[in-house]
């Protein structure tokens, strides 16, 4: 019997002696080998299945954008902390983190991380990790994944109902650095966009290094990261630059109590605008969307 209700299946991420339980709304774990049927001339059927690659796994989950994670004093949550650390990393070797859900765990490398902010809505985030295994990690894992479905004893929370002050919210988040401003110097006129929503995402490329005689990688290298922001406004800037104007875009996500000590910060460094679109549908205003990207 492995019937575990959702209230006993937390998503936990451990890194550098710190463990944080995320407010996940779902979680999916995949595990694949690469067995392929082997065909040869002279045989109609398959000779059998052989592995065409190592076993790998991945985990992905959506979670409420909590901003009160206890991660080395860095405002936000552990995923945001990891993403920021990796994208600014000057080394090549990835270290990975321990990711656990429903009794199953693996040593994961952050593949992607995203969050959104919409007017009058709770901000949600998502993250995915790749499991390669074989690393001589502190958890002693050798396979990409291990464990079985078991419930965990979650830490007792408050016995009374509370307002979720530790969750980022679009009602109090302005993301003012994303406002598009159009200036007509000849007429001393200026138009500043109103921001309706924004989506942030970053993806990381990891390269596991395999050696002969061993299924699992010797080490995993971090190679590069690509960051993107899509902002929805009511101002369209048709003056898209051909060569791009590199700009830093600091994003500050606030919670419902507007506590500046617990806001979450992300900065896109040297971002450039690579796209601008306008769409309109029935019973709505024309909304523009600009896409900003940065690479690390």
């Amino acid at each position: 019997m492995a019937q575990v209700f959702y209230d006993k299946t937390t998503v936990q991420v451990e890194y550098d002696g710190v463990s944080e339980t995320l407010l996940a709304s779902n979680c999916t774990i995949n595990y694949n080998n690469s067995l392929q049927p082997l065909y040869v001339l002279g045989n109609k059927g398959s000779l059998g299945h052989v592995p065409a690659g190592p076993r790998v796994g991945d985990i992905s989950f959506d979670f409420l954008t909590s901003i009160t994670g206890e991660v080395h004093g860095y405002p936000g949550n552990v995923i945001n902390y990891l993403a920021s650390g990796i994208k600014h990393s000057i080394g090549s070797t990835g270290s990975g983190v321990l990711v656990k859900c429903a009794g199953i765990s693996g040593w994961g490398f952050l593949n992607s991380y995203a969050f959104n902010a919409q007017s009058n809505a709770v901000s949600t985030s998502s993250a995915s990790f790749g499991f390669f295994g074989g690393f001589d990690n502190p958890a002693g894992l050798t396979l990409p994944l291990s464990g079985r479905i078991t419930g965990s004893d979650v830490e007792a929370g408050s016995s009374t109902s509370t307002v979720a002050t530790g969750v980022a919210h679009g009602r109090y988040t302005t993301l003012s650095s994303l406002y598009t401003t159009i200036t007509d110097t000849a007429n001393a006129a200026q138009e500043v966009g109103e921001l309706f929503a924004a989506d942030y995402s970053i993806s990381f490329a990891h390269n596991p290094i395999y050696m002969l005689g061993q299924e699992t990688p010797l080490l995993t290298l971090y190679t590069n990261a690509t960051e993107s922001i899509n902002a929805v406004e009511d101002v369209y800037n048709s003056g898209l630059s051909y060569t791009g104007n590199e700009t830093d875009y600091p994003l500050i996500l606030e919670s419902v109590d507007l506590n500046s000590l617990t806001d979450m910060r992300v900065t896109m460094v040297s971002g450039v605008q690579v796209g601008a679109s306008v769409s309109v549908g029935l019973d709505d205003i024309a909304r523009s969307q600009k896409t900003l990207t940065a690479a690390y």
């Binding site: 209230d7 407010l23 979650v154 509370t162 979720a164 109103e194 019973d283 205003i285």
Partner: protein, 279 residues
Amino acid sequence: MLGRIRREAESIAVNGSGIQGVQSISAQYDSVGGSPLRNLGINEIRYAPEGPQTASLGLDTLLTHTLVSGGAGYTSFDLMQNFTGDVPFSGIIDYGTEKLYFTQAYLETYSISCSIGEIPQSSTTSVIFGDLGTGLFDSWAPFAQPPAALNVTSYSSMGVNLDEFSTNRMTSFSVDIATPRVPIYTLGLGAPTEVIAGTPIEVNVNFSIDIDDYEIKNMRFVPEQTVFRDTTITLKKNNSDVELLRYSFDNMLLTSESFQAGADSSAATNFNLRSFILR
């Protein structure tokens, strides 16, 4: 000691005008976040607003005290009909010694109906994008004007321009106007930065008649025999020719008819005319 508040201690004023003939008032807000945030491994009940915070206002009024003159930018003698456009209104509801304030209310539906033996009654529903309740409000300070003089409409002093009613007896009518609103919300603000008056406006006029020679159309009359009618209903001051309210709509499409007959009643028909108005 337990007490109660009855109608003599209740009133409503809109944009400084006290409304008379009120039959019922309803005001309601839904505190968004009524459902807790849920997560895997949930161990605590936490709430957060999950959507815009809006309220609603409903008002049913007998047309006993229509405005004496339009004035103050009003074009209709029925105060609430003046808010079918893009202008919001604010107001105050008095109940006993307490007051309930609301701001930035936008009319969503306006209806007027009358049956034989009744005083015409208007009903409105509005959505409130500003504030509803108590506490500090913006600079607007509502006040109630003293009650206006009786200026009552009546079923016996009304006119309808449709030919059918020369030989068929109209027993009731209703006019329903739906004015869509499109609030635009931005990041960082609870109230919309703009409320767009949506289009088109849907108008439905319903008549109930005791029939003599009324001819019900064939249900497959569209498109060969599509019926469009210009409809005008005028409400006059009781026992006079003084016109107080006029509802006039062109090119209304006949959309439905129904027939009822019973052992104890006259044969009757209901029909609906509908049009859409762009603005």
